[in-house]
Amino acid sequence: MMHDEYDVLIVGGGVVGSAVARELARYRLRIAVLEKEPDILCETSARNSGVLHAGFNSTAGTKMARFCVEGNRGFDALARELDVPYRRTGKLVIGFSAEDRKRLEALRENGEKAGVPGLEIIDATRIRQLAPLVRGAFALWSPTTAILSPFQLTLGLAENAVRNGVRYVLKAEVGGIRCVQERYIATTAAGEFRGRWIINCAGLHADRIARLQGIDSYTIHPCRGEYFVLDQRAGPMLPLPVYPVPDPKSGGLGIHLTPSVDGNVFIGPSNEYIGDTGDYAVTKPVMEMLVADAARVLPELDRSYFIRNYAGIRPKLTGPGEGGYHDFVIERRRETPRAIHLIGIESPGLTCAIPIAREVVRQMWEVEQLAENPYFDPVRRGIVRFADQSIADQAALIAQDRNYGEIICRCGAITKAEVLAAIRNPLGVHTMTGIKYRCRAMMGRCQSGYCQTRIAELILQETGKRPEDLEYARKGSYLFTGAVRDA
């Protein structure tokens, strides 16, 4: 067993854990992130709408609203540093009835109180100018809302953290935490880790991680949201995210249509409390509801556009029947002074990741002085995407590296150079979905029919793994039982 000494142990490597890791890397601290899965993109951070929220949906005065406005305002600089694809599309919340209008007015007022800029109620003519195919009588227009790649944001934070000395340990599910002489000792599937601080960023499992430290006052209510993914052919139909007026009694923002930075469209998410943090199933009744709801706003949608379904799970603090949102809980407890618990980090957690991380740093400063890391480098570069380049730049890329001249994923025109860069990622992730999220291969309309066999082969070649050790996504999701026949 390993006995590794750290200043800070971060439990959970999602967008929040990675933001905390990256912000703490600005100081002279030895940091380890303990991630239970073979990749950091297995749960909530990857399974959402990919929206940078403006902040008008969260009650003014809450941490949620404050962090959201701050996270949105700071995003251009962050995206530049970390090379995260995003687009300031703005967003429409569509209304039809007098009741809707009242709710939209209330949302606008709340947003203005929270400091959200540029909110306006607009009429049907302006809706048609912004999104010609979208139906609606009037709408709340939020110009600062953006779409972003949740994969690249999470990876950007994590890879930048690694570059600045943070260690990520994969498949390190924490099974026990004890405190001996002011050291936390986390027992994991990958050995024991010791740290002076422990930061609980475990998302859906944050209540369990708190319980391991004797705190049983938190309860996470998993609330599933199902989505449809639409073909890129549907992309031009929807220039910006379009939401319905949210139902205050529901735990979500309603079924919306969102373009993705990769040119697809998402329909969803539904809103269903489930008694299980691991049940990512999609269901027939919800699929039918999603299709019907989307057709109300965008009647031109056709079933032939649907290429995939997925589900995400919100780690909610408000339970079934209660609805709405509880503010983020980010706290040190008297019984565990060097432990910080981040509980109920649901939507808009993606937008709030950096402000949340800064709050963690602030709470640590309350206990001890942190020395600055003079070598901190805030810049991370993503994989250069062949398909996004001009013809001249494409030619230059191929001249530089022949692997840019071999297209592996036909749907996305993603080259061997990009797939290899994804396989050689700084976190050492070698799952199929890990490669997919990093270079976007296997996401297109053929759903990997053309490229997956070659990508599996490339991973095996690059890593020297045995076929039976290659995983699809989660721990234990093996792809192969071995060779068909011995050579």
Binding site: D279, K284, A392, A399, A413, A473, F480, G482
Partner: protein, 415 residues
């Protein structure tokens, strides 16, 4: 851009059976200035992974494996010195026939007098069907499973359920059984098999693999690797019947639920597609709605046997040769289908030559009579003892009976 545009009489996209057959026939017709662009590292298309036999019975009068069938064409193409560039992916075609491709040696561009689309087809996926459930590892389309097993020597599972009775699914049922896996059943939502009768016999019946007609998957479970699939009987509207659920404990689910012509490039060039075949709308010369762009093989309409792909591509090549020399006759007579006749190729004819029409029936029919009518006149008729959707059928329209004007409609009547 640095690369110069190279002129070619014909650029063929895809070195599968359609592309190779077309190239060889063009060469035979005296058209030598041609090039085939192939995205895979080696030519041959899907035949490379079809290691079972049964290919070539019509074309060569003998039973060959897929690689053997492909090799005959590769050898002839090589003997004729036909240029086949592999590892080259076409990324764009314009309506004025400029072809752009990506290769390790740089970007390539060709200005072609004619383009032949021979890109083949791809498989329908779980997403297109919206099958409910979790998303574990172990769910594959039949063609992907076939690639892993036959080309990559990677075994994909031990207990297998197959959804859809397409030909590749049935062939994989046999293949997996031979390699020691237990194939529990093949489920088909329709009341009849989707694939060829001979595959039902040779791949399922001969190996005691049950074929469950009017059954579909209604739930898929497994957090990491597939653990079980729930299968239900469906009613006449394909709705699962409550109470008929059966659970199969399995680690692998193979989908064989249809093939879709790969027309991304055709769309870029503005080629009009047929909603029934999902391939291009073509005339009797295999010309699409864009002049000088032709299509044949599975990119035009999904075939049952490769032999017919070759024969069709050869026919196309003869048209292209005429096109290059003297131009083609105007094809202004539309052909429509009705009754139990579903997809149909071609959709426009000239009336100057006999035209074989290829079609599929929408449901199995015994003693089917197919008739072609124009201006209230019966111009062709054919009786078929048993017609099934899995098999492509043909009827010839004799030029002598086609009037200069008037839509031709092909319909089914009871014999």
């Amino acid at each position: 851009m640095k690369c110069a545009i190279e002129k070619k009489s014909v650029v063929i996209i895809g070195a599968g059976p359609a592309g190779l057959s077309a190239a060889i026939e063009l060469h035979r017709q005296g058209v030598y200035d041609i090039i085939i662009l192939e995205r895979e590292q080696s030519a041959g298309g899907v035949l490379r992974q079809c290691i079972h036999d049964g290919f070539g019975l019509t074309r060569f009068g003998e039973s060959l494996t897929g690689p053997e069938y492909a090799q005959r064409f590769l050898d002839e193409a090589a003997a004729r010195g036909i240029e086949v560039l592999s590892g080259v992916t076409v990324t764009g075609i314009t309506p004025d026939r400029i072809v752009t491709a990506v290769s390790p040696n740089g970007l390539l561009q060709f200005a072609a007098r004619a383009i032949i689309l021979a890109m083949g087809c791809r498989e329908r996926t779980r997403g297109a069907l919206s099958i409910p459930g979790e998303r574990p590892a172990g769910v594959w389309t039949a063609g992907v499973a076939q690639t892993y097993i036959n080309l990559k020597n990677l075994m994909i599972g031990r207990r297998v359920l197959i959804l859809g009775s397409g030909d590749i699914g049935m062939i994989m049922a046999r293949r997996l059984t031979i390699e020691g896996a237990k194939v529990l059943a093949v489920c088909e939502i329709q009341p009849y098999p989707a694939g060829l009768p001979r595959n039902v016999m040779q791949c399922l019946n001969d190996y005691d693999i049950p074929l469950l007609l009017q059954h579909t998957a209604t739930d898929i479970r497994g957090r990491a690797r597939l653990e079980r699939v729930t299968v239900s009987r469906v009613d006449a509207q394909f709705r699962p019947i409550p109470g008929t659920e059966r659970e199969f404990q399995c680690d692998t689910l193979i989908l064989s639920v249809g093939l879709i012509p790969e027309n991304e490039l055709s769309r870029m060039a503005g080629v009009v597609l047929d909603p029934q075949t999902q391939g291009a709308v073509t005339d009797e010369c295999f010309q699409t709605s864009v002049p000088g762009i032709f299509a044949a093989g599975n990119v035009l309409h999904v075939h049952d046997l490769v032999d017919f792909v070759s024969l069709e591509a050869e026919q196309l090549a003869r048209s292209v040769a005429v096109y290059l020399r003297q131009g083609l006759p105007a094809c202004e007579i539309a052909v429509s289908s009705g009754g139990d006749i579903g997809s149909l190729v071609p959709r426009r004819v000239s009336g100057t030559q006999d035209v074989p029409l290829c079609f599929r029936v929408k449901r199995p029919r015994d003693d089917l009579c197919v008739q072609a009518w124009q201006n209230g006149r019966l111009i062709a008729q054919r009786r078929i003892k048993r017609a099934v959707p899995a098999e492509m059928e043909r009827i010839v329209l004799p030029a002598a009976r086609i009037a200069e004007h008037g839509e031709i409609s092909v319909v089914s009547v009871d014999a």
